[in-house]
């Protein structure tokens, strides 16, 4: 019943609903885009050194362990209220899984394959683009999937710093003890998260190649 009421509320207030949904998605897309654009190259850069990977992954992990709410609060004096502190907090959530998976994916590329590539005269960049990126794409997409799910949920907190998004309905719902209102925020968030899970899993399966069996048998 409350689900019906929530649905009706959303239909009766289309501008509020679509604006919130749009804000929510923009926060997620921008933070994921910036997060992937920094974590994936960083992962490639550090993957060949065990020590550099360790340092990078742990620094990212340390930031990740700060509660998002604390980051939001700390960011307000520098970035003001609204969109940008929210994006910063979400960026911090997005980086660690993407970075970790990129490092693992690149490091796990079979060393005989990279040896053959080097021996044939590929440069570092050619190796990264033609060999490592395609072979590590499965784990990288899996990292982006984890980040996306966390960011979609995390974006609900933006409401606390005036970032808008579907979190506004959740906050209002709790404050007014209005269950249907709460669901107007919560249900789309859940649907988006599940859709991301399914979509990225499909994509991951699509790009992953079965590992080649190297021991020879005729």
């Amino acid at each position: 019943m409350e689900l019906f009421e929530a649905f009706h509320w959303a239909i009766d207030h289309p501008v509020m609903f679509w604006t919130a949904l749009y804000q929510h998605m923009m926060m997620c897309l921008v933070s994921l885009g910036v997060g992937a654009a920094s974590a994936i190259p960083l992962g490639f850069l550090v993957a060949h050194s065990r020590r550099a990977s360790f340092v990078a992954i742990n620094i990212a992990g340390a930031f990740r362990s700060i509660p998002s709410l604390a980051i939001l609060a700390a960011a307000v004096p520098f970035l003001g209220i609204g969109f940008w502190p929210s994006v910063l907090a979400l960026f911090v959530l997005a980086v660690p899984p993407i970075l970790l998976n990129t490092v693992v994916g690149v490091a796990e590329v079979d060393s005989t394959i990279t040896d053959a590539a080097t021996g044939m005269g590929m440069s570092r960049v050619q190796m990264a683009l033609r060999i490592e990126l395609p072979l590590a794409l499965g784990p990288i997409i899996s990292g982006v999937k984890i980040a996306t799910i966390q960011v979609i949920g995390g974006a609900a907190l933006a409401s606390f710093v005036g970032g808008g998004g579907l979190g506004d309905f959740i906050s209002a719902g709790i404050a007014l003890m209005d269950m249907p209102r709460l669901l107007v925020g919560a249900v789309p968030i859940a649907i988006m998260a599940i859709a991301a899970e399914i979509g990225f899993s499909q994509l991951e399966r699509h790009v992953s190649h079965a590992p080649v069996k190297l021991a020879g048998e005729e």
């Binding site: 394959i113 044939m120 005269g121 069996k213 048998e217 005729e218």
Partner: protein, 327 residues
């Protein structure tokens, strides 16, 4: 031609040099097998030629040019490289794998396509059937053929092969060895091959370099090395049956005498003496008639000649009767 001049490779903290003052000359168009127990430095020696490893001191010249003065990527694109595990790129088709170096050298697409077909045919694979497949759909032997074709793609003068037959089952191996050897001779490649299989080295190589603890122990033709090991290590490494191995390197036609009338069993002129001996042992014949299939009788091989051939080969030196002496 490849020259190694007093090449030393040492690793910090290691008790001895991985490669210890190795000097070696490899003539254009010949195959050299580096062989020895694990850890003898054979792989490191090979990998210094295309700069996958850097010598601590000494010089390596390929066609007169010091490899350390050439850009490593340019150098590697001009040298074919085959490894035991093949290292095919699993996300690329067979055709794309073979085209790797051609693409790095920026050849145009039409030429690449033609060359890839030609290469796949050369190694006994149907380009239309195999070209579009992924490596995982191939058997071990087929994969090694693709790896070999990929290394030949840029028509390099020099080929480096690291245990190229190690991952292939024994029956397929013999066949692939013969085919690769023929291709390498036909295309006049200078080949450095690492192996731990003595029979493979004797079969494939014009010269064998036996290494131990980073040192080059002996460097000679297979028949000379079998006839005159220069140390007890080399003799032990060759095994107690080295005289029998020598028989395998001598052709019937190189030691046969004039034809004579006989009902003895027939042997082909290009068969080796190991095979001939086996025939004599099996039939208890006095000798063998040498004849090509149904062709005319070419000569006669009697027991005494066969049995003395190893000793006289050692005496004469090898080139005149050595299988590899004549192409």
């Amino acid at each position: 031609m490849i020259e190694l001049i007093n090449v030393i490779k040492s690793y910090r903290g290691a008790p001895r040099n991985a490669v210890d003052d190795v000097s070696l000359e490899i003539e254009t168009g010949t195959t050299v097998a580096l062989i020895g127990p694990s850890g003898c430095g054979k792989t490191t020696t090979m990998r210094m030629i295309n700069r996958l490893q850097t010598p601590t001191s000494g010089q390596i010249l390929v066609n007169g040019k010091d490899v350390n003065t050439v850009d490593p990527q340019t150098l590697r694109r001009s040298i074919g490289y085959v490894i035991q595990q093949v290292g095919l790129f699993p996300h690329m088709t067979i055709a794309q794998n073979v085209a790797t170096v051609l693409r790095l050298l920026k050849h145009d697409a039409v030429k690449i396509k033609e060359r890839v077909s030609e290469l796949l045919q050369m190694v006994g694979l149907d380009p239309d059937e195999m070209g579009p497949r992924l490596p995982q759909a191939l058997s071990g032997g087929q994969r090694q053929r693709v790896g070999f074709a990929r290394a030949l793609a840029g028509d390099p003068d020099v080929m480096l092969m690291d245990e190229p037959f190690g991952a292939i089952d024994p029956i397929t191996r013999t066949k692939v060895q013969s085919e690769f050897k023929e291709i390498l001779k036909k295309t006049n490649k200078t080949v450095v091959m690492v192996t731990h299989d003595l029979d493979e080295a004797l079969k494939m190589a014009d010269r064998v370099a036996i290494m131990q603890d980073g040192k080059l122990m002996q460097y000679d033709t297979p028949i000379d090395i079998l006839a005159r090991p220069n140390s007890s290590f080399v003799a032990d490494f060759l095994g107690a049956d080295r005289a029998l191995k020598q028989l395998g390197l001598i052709t019937v036609q190189s030691v046969m005498s004039a034809p004579q009338i006989s009902n003895d069993p027939v042997v082909g002129p290009l068969a080796n003496l190991q095979f001939a001996l086996s025939e004599i042992l099996a039939t208890n014949a006095y000798g063998l008639v040498v004849r090509d299939n149904d062709g005319p009788v070419l000569g006669y091989l009697d027991r005494a000649t066969l049995l003395s051939s190893v000793a006289s080969a050692a005496h004469l030196g090898s080139e005149s009767i050595h299988i590899k002496g004549k192409k």
